[in-house]
Symmetry: C2
Subunit: 699 residues, 2 copies
Amino acid sequence: MKKIFFVILLLFAFTVNAQTILSPSKQVSLDFKLTANGIPTYAVTYKNKPVVLQSSMGIYLKDGSNLATNFSSEGKKNITFNESWKPVLGEQSSIVNHYNEMTVALSQAGTNRKMNIIFKVYDEGVAFRYEFPKQKDLNYFIIKEEKTEFNLAGNHKAFWIPGDFDSQEYEYNETLLSGVDTEKINLNNGIGVKSIAAKYAVQSPLMMKSADGLYINIFEAATVNYPVMHLELNPKTFGLTSILAPNAIGDKAYLQAPCVSPWRTIMVSDDARTIVSSKMTLNLNEPSKIEDTSWIKPMKYVGIWWEMHVGKSTWDYAGSQNAQNTETRELIASGKHGATTENTKRYIDFAAKHGFDGVLVEGWNVGWEDWFGNWKEDVFDFVTPYPDYNLAEINAYAKSKGVKMIMHHETSGSVANYERHLDRALELMKKYGYPAAKSGYVGKIIPRGEFHDGQSMVNHYNHVARRFADYKLMVNSHESSRPTGYHRTYPNYIAAEAARGNEFNAWSNGNPPMHETILPFTRLLGGPMDYTPGIFEIKMSAYDKTKKEQVHTTLAKQLALYVTMYSPLQMAADLPENYEKYPDAFQFIKDVAADWQDSKYLEAEPGDYLTVARKDKKSENWFLGAITDENARTSEIKLDFLSPNKKYKATIYQDGKTAHWEKNPINYEIKTMTVTSKSKLKLVLAAGGGTAISFTPIN
Amino acid sequence: MKKIFFVILLLFAFTVNAQTILSPSKQVSLDFKLTANGIPTYAVTYKNKPVVLQSSMGIYLKDGSNLATNFSSEGKKNITFNESWKPVLGEQSSIVNHYNEMTVALSQAGTNRKMNIIFKVYDEGVAFRYEFPKQKDLNYFIIKEEKTEFNLAGNHKAFWIPGDFDSQEYEYNETLLSGVDTEKINLNNGIGVKSIAAKYAVQSPLMMKSADGLYINIFEAATVNYPVMHLELNPKTFGLTSILAPNAIGDKAYLQAPCVSPWRTIMVSDDARTIVSSKMTLNLNEPSKIEDTSWIKPMKYVGIWWEMHVGKSTWDYAGSQNAQNTETRELIASGKHGATTENTKRYIDFAAKHGFDGVLVEGWNVGWEDWFGNWKEDVFDFVTPYPDYNLAEINAYAKSKGVKMIMHHETSGSVANYERHLDRALELMKKYGYPAAKSGYVGKIIPRGEFHDGQSMVNHYNHVARRFADYKLMVNSHESSRPTGYHRTYPNYIAAEAARGNEFNAWSNGNPPMHETILPFTRLLGGPMDYTPGIFEIKMSAYDKTKKEQVHTTLAKQLALYVTMYSPLQMAADLPENYEKYPDAFQFIKDVAADWQDSKYLEAEPGDYLTVARKDKKSENWFLGAITDENARTSEIKLDFLSPNKKYKATIYQDGKTAHWEKNPINYEIKTMTVTSKSKLKLVLAAGGGTAISFTPIN
């Protein structure tokens, strides 16, 4: 690893009650100030425009004391840091981590307690965290509230979803901040468990755009041993205040000094591409704690999953999730069970034929008759297959075909149960050679009273990643809290869902066409998303004529998502028979890489469009994805990201002339041409459409 | 197994709104009646004296509905059952289970819901449970309250401890029911975590004596997937109502039909010996689910434990439980750590020399610097020894000496953490050949908000027993909920503490002399207790002249406890050097058995005295233990329990002439004589004293 490391260390100096720190580019400025009451505050500007007005910081404890007022400064310490590091998997092979840091040491009058605030100022924004040093007068403590303010400078346009301690599976609302109101939106859109924090509560990452063209994003990084931060808006002042997800008895976090809070981040730029391509969240996390990472590999996979969503088969063996009690009566096969030995072999054959790395099978194990919705603790054991699923036979067959099986661990929210079975579940995976598992947290959490976003659950997801690492296994969590870059530290935490995925299109109002243009500005800032793209049979009426549900994109846009929606774990989510209908379009999914040397964000506007080009890590091939929202779009892009003095064959998968996400979604055309780094290309995207391009060097 | 099995089956007959059922002896009578509002009620008499006056039964659900009113009877079913079965370990080699049973089938107007109440009437009392059959209109349900009443017939004398969801480690109060008041007693007597249910809440088992000489005991049996039942007293009417321990959000139990509640039991007799010797609680549990029980064996053990209680050494390595953070700094040895390799070898030598089966070592593993009192989740990993404790060396040494090591799993109440480490902890035990572990639950429970007595925790203790059984390991839980006979079903759950043990004598006001005369009527009805008797150095001033604490018995009574306090796991709790001072008295501890062919309760009065003789399961030896409270006592006992036509050498360990628990506790004398089954023996017990006798056949 190449490291460039500059440190300028000023030993703790005299009392500093006000201090300014600039980004390396000097365009981002952070002002720290202690008020007359000893309350720490900060403010952020970008190119001299206000981004965050003076805002308070502080922690309130359960015992009635606080770490928020009566502080005086004992000094500060400044560092300039510049390093590049190589992620195991990623959007680029090398990442620069360059910032100016200031640590302010605070001491509280009356209590003798110390707290530091560490600020890092990057060219794309600001991060800060609370640090609680080892000290005599603060050892174990319980956080009642964190009151970190983000006082915004105006009534920005915001892309928001309700602040919900149990789910992020919402469609985005695009309104002014003054229009935020969780009571005025449709919450009944396919989401099983909801725990809305407050009327004006929104989730982070919160993406905004100011009237004067600034892109602003509020988020957090390195959420470890701490609950998820949501945000409560004052719709009159446009001030945001942190809301931490509580535990069953209303406490927020149990900590022991020395320790730190997660980073609170404010990204800002006048170029949306700076936000969407930022690696600040990753940079704020600790380096990998896994020494040998050779077993962490990108995977493209198919699986028995979408067929349940479209109603062709069921997860459960006995049918219709009718809560038959498996302990006291024999299960009677319904005949609709998806995870059979025979059906799995069909997927294995398909994967082998088309070069996919893995096959995921959901519904393979006993327990699905009465999983979600019953708050049942003892629901799955993660090792017992249904009688029609022959674990040994399937794994031997997959091995003979050179395909890896992907394990599935649905917990039904019963985390206590999962943890007590986890070692056995992972032993089973090792026994059969599974490299990875998809986990799921559908339903209310057990221990009862806990939320998906609470400190205990955050600790659980991270614990699971570490346990998987013990066994050299990868994990892809669904319905977990949203990632905040912890996959830098545990790169076997290869992907997560933690947002509204493609499956909502199968049985709810779905994901509106703008959805995938927002996710890269929000959810994906924290880590790769297993969005499960690649649906070719767009309309559910293909399965059942009475159905009105559909995927809200064109087929070409489904291809483009493999590039725009970064993940080293990518599913070809549709049924084999649907891919076999469109083998020419399917070729792009077969060809596209999942791990990258470099990524170039060419065009970006949250809620509207995104165009990104990426270079395969293992070859000279480039891939481009361009997507738009409900509006058709034409643009011209320069191919100057291609290597100079090379010719490439470009294979362009684009919307057909009459394509439209709703009226004619499957209409696409494929053309090839020879291009160089000097070429320009006109992209023509239908409403809800997209373009996918592969560039292959011509020798 | 010899089985005598009589069944009289009456198919569900016509509606029964009132019904009487008698015990096999016809002395216990139970009346069932539905009120005009369809509320099920029952009443109990013994020899025509009222024991429980008409009392309501019923369950209230979280959804606002109930299973308590508007019932009509759909019929009843009667069975007579008589069987004998052989416990794996026990007070006797064969147990008779003989009762008359009536099941009343109830149907609720308006809801179409069904509930059965099953009554079993034994010669020593009554048991009943709620049964929720599989039905369309009741599947998953959440219990908000169980309101089972026990309306007593008078202001009985009661031996009570406060109804506390987190602890039973109280000294008993002996008052009339009208004197029960948890706000008027000393609660600060060495108990770490307390959650008192209500002002008039008491625990079950609740032992009482009526003015007309009836011994009455209210308890429960087979508490499985259900919280612990406490009792709330109406001090004016002497009515008791069940209080179930809640979870973090106030719910009591999550159930799915078909299922059952635990048994609610009312034992009654005019002879206290009938209560104290009853096997009703065991009989109400399911037979063993472990097929091969050959590895479940009684054990006598010594260990590194009492030396921490007397202040000679510490559990933690770095000293004084000062919350050093093991994650961020090196631990610095204090020099007082008890669990060193060297010290352990000393105990192993001692165990080998004196024929003990095992050596327990507490404080062997990293985590004790900041365990209890901090509500810390990630406290122990159960596999990492302190640097001065060489696991491999110690286990090899013990093996070479023919001694087994007993593992220690203190959880510090962090159950989530224990469950996620359990398989690894048990693998470690198997690796080194540990046959058993002592577990501990000192501190507030994590998941936070849960209580020691809640449904989740009951499930946890039972889960642990089953997991241990998977590995053919035995478990002895401390600070768990009190047992209710589940060791019949999982006989590897070899013992528990779950009451105020001997260690309280070392550092609190201690256990008053009557304490051990009450436990057999309360705590021990549910299962064996690891009371840790055998303290010879009675006064703590021996360790530190400023100390006033002491064991509240004579030395001879400490010997007698090995017989009166039934457990197949018995510790010789004192320090090796203290036993070496009194080798003649120590001989009884070396000789006494821990598993029995038969037991004869010769004399019994709760709060006053207890005399029991037991026959070793593997020999013709008998052992007798007699204890008294703070009053000296003389009695004459017949030795007619001995085999006729056999001579025995009796070795009598009794209080010396000036012995007194407080003034002269170590004063004892040992004499031998030859006796037969026709002999009578005069027992002379000092205040707080006891007598222990071994009877060895003379060939």
